[in-house]
């Protein structure tokens, strides 16, 4: 008689504890997802130059770092022109292009759909890389926010601001040739790598970099999210002698790429966090 009530009490205690537990669980997140604005491709590049030493710094990278990365050196004529300027700014925002020199507006151009079409047809007529894919060009340039600043200064340039919502489309042809947004790169995958990817049935990849956070999808399947820490990466840099330099501009940037192998469908979507 006495033991059964004890057991029932115990059961009741369990039910109560579990009841409290489930009551305490936060309700399923049903908060409305904030309506996101149309993605913008933001590129802000600051370039500082010193005509005296004929060196320049770009996007937070020093002249030395740029030289190591194989950045081109300017000819004397260009340095003469730059020497006459104190600063120049190119802005592509909304539906217009503005150019400023020495803080004075030089000109302003319409940059709406029809005017861009004229630019595409001009480029198609004069460049030898092949016709511009209008749809892709519009994906990049519609709602773009591009600012390029040139400043005569010995200072290190401001860190690059890069936030690209549009995926860079990379395609690997059946012979291994790599194209970026339809333009040939002159690079190609080795036959072994191509055969490996083909046998493993890897058709496409989507890679997103968001200020150190890496998201990777293979054939649409999500892989674990990796987070690289700028401070921590210096450990690897020192250990392997990579001379990575200052990675602040990269760790402040967001961009992504969609890689397609063979005739698979292009990778869609954005890399909006």
């Amino acid at each position: 008689m006495n033991k059964t009530p004890t057991f029932i009490k115990l059961l009741l205690a369990v039910i109560m504890v579990l009841g409290i537990v489930f009551v305490q669980q936060p309700p399923m997140a049903i908060a409305e997802i904030a309506k996101q604005e149309v993605p913008t491709n933001l590129v802000h590049i600051d370039i500082t130059y010193d005509p005296g030493t004929k060196t320049y710094s770009m996007g937070g990278f020093s002249a030395e770092e740029l030289r190591q990365a194989g950045a081109p050196q300017f000819q004397d004529q260009i340095w003469q022109v730059l020497g006459m300027l104190n600063n120049a700014t190119l802005k592509i925002q909304d539906d217009k292009i503005d150019v400023f020199t020495d803080d004075q507006q030089l000109f302003s151009l319409a940059w709406d759909g029809p005017s861009r079409e004229i630019v595409y047809s001009l480029l198609n007529a004069y460049i030898e890389l092949g016709d511009i894919d209008m749809e892709r060009a519009e994906a990049w340039l519609d709602k773009a926010d591009i600012v390029i600043t040139l400043r005569k200064s010995k200072e290190l340039s401001e860190p690059l601001q890069l936030s690209l919502a549009t995926l860079v489309q990379v395609k690997v042809a059946k012979n291994g040739e790599l194209t970026v947004e339809g333009f040939p790169t002159g690079m190609s995958l080795t036959p072994d790598t191509l055969a490996l990817l083909d046998t493993a049935n890897v058709e496409n990849l989507k890679l997103c970099w968001n200020k150190g956070v890496v998201d990777l999808q293979v054939n649409g399947q999500m892989l674990p999210q990796a987070t690289l820490y700028q401070g921590g990466l210096s450990v690897i840099d020192k250990a392997f002698g990579l001379n990575l330099g200052d990675l602040t501009p990269i760790f402040g940037s967001s961009f992504g790429a969609g890689l397609v192998i063979g005739d698979a469908a292009p990778v869609t979507g954005e890399c909006v966090p």
């Binding site: 399947q221 987070t227 921590g232 450990v235 690897i236």
Partner: protein, 143 residues
């Protein structure tokens, strides 16, 4: 009620009660003792461990879905996984492994056991959702 069933039921109730408390606390990771691992000068890992002067690296696995590599107090890299992304990684790794053998002309292609795959996935999901542990390996560089 026979004694055996009574003990079994009471044990079950106690386990449920303890798990209820654990669940109510938000299923915190239960730390397991750190496993020390010493590396000697000349070993490939030694250069990496000593590169930032702290002479130690810690690899931590939290079964709640985090694998983290830290040097002193500085995080180097971390991986966040879910049972789904872990399964995808396992699947991709297996396909690449088989593809590598095929490309190299190796006829001895390893066969995967669906049972083993399920067992691994089940274990990962169990330690992710039900009970969570933290396991650390502390790699120390000897002078």
């Amino acid at each position: 009620m026979p004694r055996f069933w009574r003990v079994l039921l009471i044990s079950l109730v106690i386990v449920l009660l303890l798990y209820g408390i654990y669940f109510a606390l938000g299923r915190p990771v239960i730390p397991l003792p750190t496993i020390p691992y010493k590396v000697y000068p000349g070993q490939p890992l030694h250069a990496i461990v000593t590169s930032d002067g702290s002479d130690q690296l810690r690899l931590t696995l939290k079964t709640s879905g985090v694998v983290e590599l830290t040097s002193a107090d500085q995080s180097v890299v971390s991986l966040n996984y879910t049972p789904e992304t872990f399964e995808n990684t396992l699947d991709l790794g297996q396909r690449l492994l088989v593809a590598q053998k095929v490309v190299q002309g190796n006829e001895d292609v390893p066969e995967s056991s669906p049972f083993l795959r399920k067992l691994i996935n089940w274990a990962i999901a169990y330690y992710y959702h039900i009970i969570r542990f933290r396991l650390s390996v502390l790699v120390k560089a000897l002078p």
